[in-house]
Symmetry: C2
Subunit: 291 residues, 2 copies
C-alpha cells in the first residue's frame, strides 16, 4: 500500500484530504477548486461513495460537481470486493481526471477496496497526475497509516487511537478529520509520537489540505489544519508508560494553519499566506508548470 | 496586581495551580504534597472557599488537610469585599504556612478579593515563602492575567477566551484548568498568542503544577500539564483576522508533561522525569536549600 511510483515525465496529482462537513450549498470553494484541478469543463470525475451506506451519496456528488461545471461526473456503485475488480470500473478510473471519495466509514473503504484493482488504479492514477480528494472517511483512508478510530477528548495515551493500513497515496502524513469539532488533538499527538516520522494533519470541518506535487500543502476552507511535528521530541514516555498513565511528550511542534497558509511536508516548515502565491498556483493536472 | 517583591533573604513560596477534580479520597497525593510543603504537623493552613457557593467547601478541606497531618487548618468565611478587610482574617494569613483557594467561580474570587487587604496579604505571604495552592477557579485566579471564561471545543480564535485581571502571584503564565477534559487547547493557544510573553499552562483534572521558587514547575498527578510556548511564532494572523475567521499560528511549541516532568518557565525548556531529581527536591517553606 505504498504510493505508486511516479514516472519521469509526470507530477504526482494533488492529494486533497477534507475534514468533513464541507459547505456543499453556498460557496463550495473546496469542491470548486477540486473541479478546477480536475479540468473544469474537460473534467471526468469519478466519485467513490463506498464509505457511505446512503444511496443518495453518489448522486448528490454528481449534482454538486456538475453544478460547479465539471464536464462529466459518474459514481462507482461499489459495495463489495468483487465490484472492485469490475473491469468497467477500472476502465472508468483510467480515463478519470479527478477522483473523489466520500465520507462514511473508513474501515468500510479500506476493507472493501484494499488490495483490489480499483485501489491499485487510484494510486496509479494519482501518481500519473490525477487529483484525488476525499472527505471525512475518504480523507482518513488516503494515507498509508490510517486513523481507523479512537477516543475524542483524550490526552495523548497509548491505545487512544486505532491505526490500520490505508490506501497509501502518501506515507508522509497521518490524517485525522472533524478535528477541532471532535477534539482529536490528543489522539493525533499519540499517532505522531508512535513514530515521529509521521506528520500529523488534523483537518477541521469545511477545510481541506491541498497537498501539491511538491509535497507543499495549502489550506482552503473556513477552519484550520493543525500540523503536528513530533520529530523534535526530546523525551517520550510512549514506550514505557504504564496502561492508563498520562504520557509525557516534550518538544512537540504545532502549526495551526488557516486559509492560505502552506506547509512544506519535506522540510517541515510552515509559511503564512502570501498574496502573490495564493491559490492561482494550483494547476490543472496536465499542466506541469509547477515542475 | 503584580507579584509582591521578594526580600533578599527569602525564596518565593511554591505556586501550585491544580486542574480541578483532584483525588480527595484515595491517595490525595497533590493535597499531601501541599501539606508537606506547608510544614506537616507544624503547618497552619488557611483555606479560602470564596469561589464556591457551597457551605460545606471550607469544612471539607479542613477535614482533608487535617487527615493528611496538617497541624492546624482553618477556613476564612469570606463572602463580601468587607470580609476581605477584616483584620482578624489578615492576621490569620499573617501566621499561615500554607494557603489554599478552592474551586468555584474565579470571577467571584477576583471580584470579591481584588484590591483588598486579603489579596495583598496572600501575595506578600507567597513572596515571603508561603506556598499558595488553588484548584480549578482557585488555580485560574493565581496569575496576573486570568482566564475568566471562554469556549471549549474551539479552534484558536480572537474572542474565544475572556481574560480578566487575576490575583497576580505570577505574571509568567496564564492558567487554564479541566484542560483535556473540557478541550481547552484552542482557547489557551489564543491566550498565548495574544501576547507570546505569556506561557500557557493547561492543567488536567487531578493534576498540579508545583511551580518552585526557581520558576521550574514539576507535574504531580494522574493527568498532564500542557505547556504552550508561542514565543517562537513566525506568523500570527491574530491582529488582522476577520471576525469568525480561523486563525493561523505558525511556530507554536507544545510540551505535554506527565507526572515528574519539569518545565523551566524562565528558559522555556522541558525536562523528562529524573529519578534523582524527583519530588524529594520540594522543600518546606523555611528551608532555603533550593537557593
Amino acid at each position: 500500500m505504498c504510493p505508486a511510483p511516479i514516472s519521469e515525465n509526470a507530477d504526482r496529482g494533488y492529494i486533497i484530504p477534507i475534514g468533513g462537513g464541507e459547505d456543499r450549498v453556498k460557496e463550495m470553494q473546496i469542491h470548486r477548486k477540486f473541479v478546477e484541478l480536475s479540468g473544469s469543463e474537460d473534467a471526468d470525475i469519478i466519485v467513490i461513495p463506498t464509505a457511505s451506506m446512503l444511496e443518495e451519496t453518489g448522486p448528490d456528488y454528481n449534482r454538486i460537481f456538475s453544478e460547479l461545471g465539471a464536464g462529466r461526473v459518474e459514481f462507482l456503485p461499489i459495495s463489495t470486493r468483487a465490484d472492485c475488480n469490475n473491469p468497467r470500473f477500472v476502465e472508468m478510473l483510467d480515463r478519470a481526471t479527478g477522483i473523489f471519495m466520500t465520507g462514511g466509514n473508513q474501515l468500510r473503504l479500506s476493507a472493501i477496496l484494499g488490495g483490489t484493482l480499483v485501489a491499485q488504479k487510484i494510486r496509479r492514477r494519482n501518481a500519473a497526475g490525477v487529483p484525488v480528494a476525499g472527505t471525512s472517511a475518504g480523507a482518513s483512508v488516503m494515507s498509508e497509516h490510517m486513523v481507523a478510530g479512537g477516543s475524542s477528548n483524550s490526552a495523548p495515551a497509548e491505545g487512544n487511537i486505532t491505526l490500520a493500513p490505508g490506501m497509501g497515496l502518501t506515507n508522509a502524513v497521518i490524517i485525522d478529520q472533524h478535528f477541532t469539532q471532535r477534539n482529536r488533538l490528543g489522539r493525533l499527538l499519540t499517532a505522531s509520537s508512535y513514530n515521529p516520522f509521521l506528520i500529523g494533519l488534523g483537518i477541521d470541518e469545511d477545510t481541506a489540505a491541498f497537498i501539491g506535487p511538491d509535497n507543499v500543502l495549502e489550506v482552503v476552507g473556513s477552519g484550520t489544519v493543525t500540523v503536528v511535528d513530533a520529530s523534535h521530541l526530546t523525551h517520550s514516555s510512549m514506550w514505557d508508560a504504564r496502561e492508563g498513565e498520562a504520557l509525557s511528550l516534550l518538544g512537540l511542534r504545532l502549526d495551526v494553519l488557516g486559509e492560505g497558509c502552506r506547509y512544506d511536508l519535506t522540510e517541515r516548515v510552515a509559511y503564512p499566506p502570501d498574496e502573490h502565491m495564493a491559490f492561482c498556483t494550483l494547476v490543472a493536472p496536465n499542466d506541469t508548470s509547477l515542475g
